[in-house]
């Protein structure tokens, strides 16, 4: 057993603070899918930035567009049916959507890497894990097979897979779920990227293994000072690792906040509903708070604020006007850094 002290020093996020360009910036990104039932608007104007050493958690239910945004950043969106009608994805100030496929390929994997949810389906079942790990070095760095294999063993050691040397020739099905996820992490880490996008990295794992994997990820992030985009629907995981949070609903970011602020004082009724629906000790035997209704169909997103049919505070203005992301301030008007809420009534929500 190891006991881990959570009060360790987290390096200060660098980048935006000193005025330089952020590591990754997503500007007004739109993604739509053309289907037989019409156009599904999966992402409708998403903005966020990530700096080195920083963890941004993107929180949302299924269908909120959180994974589609990540796929657009990686450039692995299926197009068609997908389409990006507008928006920019800036990696160190360069727009990846307009650059050539070759230039993009140099960034993907080397600078920005991704960890997928289901390691068993993300790994190729007929190739050994050593071969798949080594592929990164052979393709991007032109190493020989032998050198690539040595590198693969080194990587497996780094993600704490026991007996890496003996297991390098094993196939994905011979590993347990937690070990497979470690291999996914190793693969993403291979070329020491600046940014890792982790799409529900622990959803398929048991809690005791989830804790191991999240700790490993946090440790490696600190070591390399990487940026991390963590996509999840689990409010608990977010509270554990994130620096800042973006809450998504129906393809838009409805609230952004530093992690502590969000849990203490949510400024959007959707966020508040999510937090209230977590069972708490003092509510035992009482009815849980439940957000009424269902997430919207993306081909027919409600007019105005997408959350209005489910919102307890909805007024007429919510049904007609799309709320912009308002900067959230204290009651006396002083600024709250990094906070925003796409709600016409954010003042009432946060200040009661």
């Amino acid at each position: 057993m190891t006991t881990i002290d959570k009060t360790r020093n987290v390096p200060e996020p660098r980048g935006a603070a000193d005025g330089s360009t952020p590591l990754l910036e997503v500007r007004d990104l739109h993604v739509e899918f053309h289907t037989r039932d019409g156009v599904a608007k999966a992402v409708n104007g998403v903005n966020y930035t990530v700096n080195s050493g920083e963890t941004l958690a993107v929180l949302g239910e299924s269908g909120s567009g959180k994974s589609v945004t990540a796929q657009a950043i990686m450039g692995i969106l299926d197009m068609p049916p997908g389409r990006i009608p507008q928006g920019q994805i800036l990696y160190r100030g360069e727009d990846m959507l307009t650059m050539s496929a070759d230039a993009r390929r140099k960034i993907r994997g080397r600078k920005i890497a991704m960890i997928f949810q289901d390691a068993l389906s993300a790994l190729n079942p007929v190739l050994s894990v050593g071969y798949q790990l080594g592929e990164m070095f052979r393709v991007h760095e032109g190493l020989s097979k032998k050198d690539a294999k040595a590198k693969a063993i080194e990587l497996m050691d780094r993600v704490k897979i026991p007996a890496a040397k003996e297991r390098v020739g094993d196939y994905p099905h011979q590993f347990s779920g937690g070990m497979r996820q470690r291999i996914m992490i190793a693969m993403a880490l291979a070329l020491e990227p600046d940014l890792i996008i982790a799409d529900e990295p622990t959803t398929a794992l048991d809690v005791t293994v989830q804790a191991q994997v999240m700790d490993l990820l946090a440790e490696l992030q600190r070591e390399y000072n990487m940026g991390l985009i963590l996509i999840t629907h689990d409010l608990g995981v977010v509270a554990d690792v994130a620096d800042k949070i973006a809450v998504m609903y129906a393809g838009r970011i409805v609230e952004t906040a530093p992690v502590h602020e969000l849990y203490k004082r949510p400024a959007h009724p959707y966020t508040r509903g999510l937090l209230d629906s977590i069972p708490r000790l003092d509510q035992k035997g009482q009815e849980l708070y439940a957000i009424k209704g269902l997430p919207p169909n993306l081909t027919r997103i409600p007019s105005g604020c997408a959350f209005n049919p489910r919102c307890p505070m909805a007024q007429d203005v919510c049904r007609t006007d799309v709320p912009p992301l308002h900067p959230v301030t204290e009651r006396d008007g002083s600024e709250l850094v990094g906070r925003g809420s796409a709600c016409h009534f954010w003042k009432e929500t946060i200040h009661g």
């Binding site: 959570k6 239910e61 937690g178 804790a211 689990d234 977590i278 957000i291 997430p295």
Partner: protein, 382 residues
């Protein structure tokens, strides 16, 4: 048959739970009468004793040789009281779903007994078994695969009445199905729709309506909300609590989400690798866990409160759950336990109130299968 030996050993290792008052029924009629008899609130309605399920591992094509067994459930005992919710938690592969299947008689137990109102249902057949099956119903995990896509909602729920026509006479069925839809919060006019026309939360309501159709006394819920979106989970949990009060149901609630289990359960059992590690009231398990596995499990759960993460000690277990085909000797948890000593490898710990807490009325005095059971203050998951 090395297996039989193992089974005996696990039987010795089970606790001295309360004696079961069995009912001797000579005929089917007597058995059915006993099954139909009401049970007082707070009395045991379901008593499981030394339940064992081994899935054989075979080798060879023509002459199948048994080379071993996956010991999915290996000597589990517990009581379910009328009107209560018993939560079962544990990681994947610990046997909690197999227990559910055994109680539903979807699998035959390798050994052990399941007493429903004093009758061992593993030995029943014919009319008596049918009567038991009517009274124990199940809600499944995945509302996308547990509803037949080619049947309308009316057919899915109404099918139960074909098998048990005594519950609703033929002409009455449509009305009865609509009533059930209304009870679970769906529009009764949806009776002719197909499952794909509903969202996940609505489908789970259909699954619950099907479970309720025969007025059962026990509903076994196998991860009923884990496939649902966070904002919809609370709706379904509220519905299940409302129905429990309304129809006086007993729930066996299997889940891996510890905070939901705490919210809904009166008592909680923690399973590890086919055995019950610890069982007690919700407060006893969550606030005063004495089994190291329970402590590790509780501390590993991410808490949705960033304040709590600061300065908190977390127990991070090393390694994975061992294979149930070849479980460790003695205590099953010893390979990942930080307290493990030689004794743990030799002796299977009994699920009983630990010696040191016996007689005292501290909340730590509940059944725990550990040689070195002691309280440890862990960060609470809920």
């Amino acid at each position: 048959m090395a297996d039989v030996e193992k089974t005996d050993e696990s039987m010795d290792a089970t606790p001295n739970v309360t004696e079961v008052e069995t009912v001797d029924a000579a005929t089917d009629e007597e058995a059915v009468a006993a099954i139909e008899a009401p049970v007082e609130r707070g009395e045991p309605i379901l008593q499981v004793r030394n339940l064992v399920k081994h899935f054989p591992l075979t080798q060879g094509i023509l002459f199948k040789r048994q080379v071993g067994a996956v010991k999915a459930v290996d000597g589990v005992s517990f009581d379910l009281y009328q009107g209560e919710t018993l939560g079962i938690v544990g990681e994947s592969g610990c046997g909690k779903s197999t227990v559910a299947k055994l109680l539903m008689m979807l699998e035959t137990a390798t050994a052990g007994e399941i007493f429903y109102k004093g009758q061992d249902i593993t030995k029943l057949s014919g009319r008596a078994l049918k009567a038991v099956r009517r009274n124990i119903q199940m809600v499944f995990q995945d509302p996308y695969t547990s509803l037949n896509p080619r049947m309308t909602v009316g057919d899915i729920i109404g099918e139960t009445f074909e098998i048990h026509p005594e519950v609703a006479p033929k002409g009455d069925r449509r009305r009865k199905v609509q009533e059930l839809l209304d009870v679970v919060g769906l529009n009764p006019e949806y009776i002719n729709r197909y499952p794909h026309q509903f969202s996940g939360g609505q489908r789970q309501r259909i699954g619950i309506a099907r479970g309720l159709a025969l007025n059962p006394e026990i509903i076994i819920c196998d991860e009923p909300v884990s496939a649902l979106d966070v904002s919809v989970q609370a709706q379904v949990i509220n519905l299940m609590e409302k129905l429990q009060d309304e129809f006086n149901l007993s729930y066996l609630f299997i889940a891996h989400d510890l905070s939901i289990v705490r919210h809904i359960s009166d008592r909680v059992g923690v399973m590890y690798l086919g055995k019950m590690a610890e069982i007690g009231s919700d407060a006893e398990i969550y606030d005063h866990p004495t089994h190291p596995y329970t402590q590790a499990l509780l501390s590993a759960v991410p808490v949705p409160d960033p304040e709590a993460r600061e300065g908190r000690d977390r127990i991070i277990l090393t390694g994975d759950v061992p294979s149930p085909a070849n479980p460790p000797s003695g205590c099953r948890f010893r390979t990942r336990c930080w307290k493990a000593q030689d004794k743990c490898a030799e002796e299977v710990p009994l699920l009983a109130v630990p010696e040191r807490f016996k007689g005292s009325d501290t909340p730590a005095a509940h059944e725990s299968a550990c040689h070195f059971a002691e309280e440890k203050d862990v960060v609470h998951a809920a």
